[in-house]
Point group: C2
Chain length 371, copies 2
């Protein structure tokens, strides 16, 4: 992204930049996970694992669903992947053929489109606004579904909006997708970063969907590149073959480290971080609103606020650019996430300290007053 | 692979199995590399790197080409990837569109076909036998090139045959590809595992090709999942975007560890291992020949022997199966690598100790006598 590069450049020239554009937690990997990684390296765990992942990790992930959500998952349905990117690649690769359509929300995570594109498929953007809580719903799914549609891709919580799908909404989407003869792919990578009601998992609604998750965001393991996919039983053989072909296997030291990420001792550290994210959100949301940004949908998860900036501009890209150059605050313009009302929105990430967020808000306030 | 699974199953039932099917060195990651990985974890190097890789590692890889081959590479042309698989995925993704053809040798590494397939392209297998040293040549390239062909994929040394392309042969292939208006993708992942003349790199012939390499095989880092791609300058922007979309970045601890893989201290360890591989090859090749396997092309690299077993069978799959069940030796039947004369060939990997290889040869000798 040009804006991120420009922010780094300004910083290297000595400018103070408040980073509210970064989609990566500012916390390091928790110590028990680091220790487990070191232990794995010391004991020579450096060879390929089976393509679907270490059996112990697949079982630990299944146990995680049992413990957190009271949902029983056969470990054979769990594929450990190089990041959630790998999981998304596997899911789309078994579903998408030349000309297949995949529905996805606009705004949404921009890479999603490209996975479908690369496979010769057609990503179909479904415009969703605050009226739809920035999420697909059963009615939209049916409206946009065509003969060529094979799947709908959901994200709960969503990037860039942080909004979630209720169990009822998800259940409606599942019924609609099934009635249409297609599949849901549900991205739950921000699942454990919630700031209200305890999250659920789409897997609680049945086995007939692809669910993507990751050790990156909540577990603080971004650079290790480790995620997972839970898939319907009928796809397991194809997925195993694909994983073998595309990746051979996910990183072995990372897989051993991830075993520690799922242990209770690590959980305490991660929950303290979640509380810190919540404190940031609870500060940032009213602060931005008081300046004049509109955030109609209280985000229930992730670490993003997707704010309507139409009070200040009808070109959020130029606005973001000016905000960076003039005030030294980096945010992400809506165009990065799609085209629907993109020029009226910017994304704020609260992946920096409260002090930095306060400084950022102060600078933004000054900037919009002068704008 | 069913055969590998069966070998593991027999082993778990208490059978002694000699593994000559495994495409992974039996050596652990060298200690200095492990230490560097541990150091990276201790110092909190666990976040995303730039999509193309750590600048220091890209520079170290460029320096590796300068030091080893006296070839100057702009570090901006180096993409650090999740294994060579990631590099192959990037290269094919920028070249292949729906209906594009990519030429590749049969026998060859089986995953290659699938990368092209997934992108909607058509992998075109070019039958090559010992007459062609199991490699494409300029004549074959021109013969199989069509209007839809965008690239030819070469591997030197090749898996499964271990044969290499001379600079002259490679130069002829490059000229032909250029004359046809296409590109070469050159897989050099076994480059530093050579048992004769010092290797060259295709990059010595110019900048107009994609070269794939890996920290897996020679550097002993299979499970870390780290490789690289050197690409023509005109593709760098597209590749950066693709890498961002497909992977976000390669494993961060692995990238720091890889810096140590390229240092002189590690080199000594790796060269000792290369000598061990050579000793194994020098034992295994005549031993198999003396039993009755034909290996007409002395493999110059990698850790494979591709042997004609037609003296014993016209069905190398059944032969491999029986050899495993009856004699407890696992080898890979030719069908895994393509279809051309596949039923007359098996691949032996010398990724196990000399003692195990001797035991394997003894068992095979007994098996073929009784066969």
């Amino acid at each position: 992204m040009a804006l991120l590069a420009r922010a780094r450049q300004l910083e290297s020239e000595g400018r103070s930049i408040v980073h509210m554009e970064i989609g990566e937690p500012d916390f390091e990997t928790p110590a028990p996970v680091i220790d487990a990684g070191i232990q794995a390296l010391r004991s020579g765990q450096t060879r390929y694992t089976p393509a679907a992942g270490l059996p112990a990790l697949r079982e630990a992930i299944a146990a995680h669903y049992r413990g957190e959500f009271n949902v029983a998952i056969d470990p054979a349905r769990v594929f450990v992947t190089p990041g959630a990117s790998g999981a998304l690649q596997l899911a789309t690769a078994v579903l998408v053929e030349e000309g297949s359509e995949v529905l996805m929300a606009d705004p949404g995570y921009p890479c999603n489109r490209n996975f479908v594109h690369l496979l010769g498929g057609i990503p179909v953007s479904v415009p969703v606004g605050c009226e739809q809580d920035y999420q697909l719903n059963a009615g939209l799914l049916e409206q946009y579904w065509s003969e060529r549609t094979v799947a709908a891709l959901l994200a709960t919580p969503s990037n860039p909006t942080g909004t979630t799908l209720s169990e009822t909404a998800l259940s409606g989407l599942l019924s609609s997708a099934q009635a249409c003869g297609g599949r849901l792919i549900v991205d739950e990578i921000y699942q454990s970063l919630y700031y209200g009601a305890r999250p659920h998992t789409a897997l609680g609604l049945g086995d007939d969907m692809f669910v993507i998750n990751s050790f990156s965001k909540y577990f603080g393991m971004t650079g290790w590149r480790l995620g997972w996919l839970v898939a319907p039983t009928e796809y397991l053989d194809s997925l195993d073959m694909l994983a073998q072909n595309l990746f051979l296997s996910a990183s072995t030291p990372a897989q051993y480290a991830a075993l520690a990420a799922l242990e209770p001792g690590t959980r305490e550290i991660l929950e303290a971080r979640r509380a810190e994210f919540q404190a940031r959100r609870d500060y940032l949301m009213p602060a931005l609103r008081s300046i004049g940004f509109r955030i109609d949908n209280e985000p229930a998860g992730a670490f993003y606020l997707y704010a309507d900036c139409s009070q200040f501009t009808d070109d959020s890209y130029a606005f973001s650019h000016d905000l960076l150059e003039t005030a030294g605050v980096a945010v992400t313009p809506g165009i990065y996430f799609g085209s629907f009302r993109a020029a009226q929105h910017v994304r704020f990430a609260y992946t920096t300290s409260l002090d930095q967020l306060r400084l950022g808000v102060e600078r933004i306030a000054g900037f919009v007053r002068a704008h």
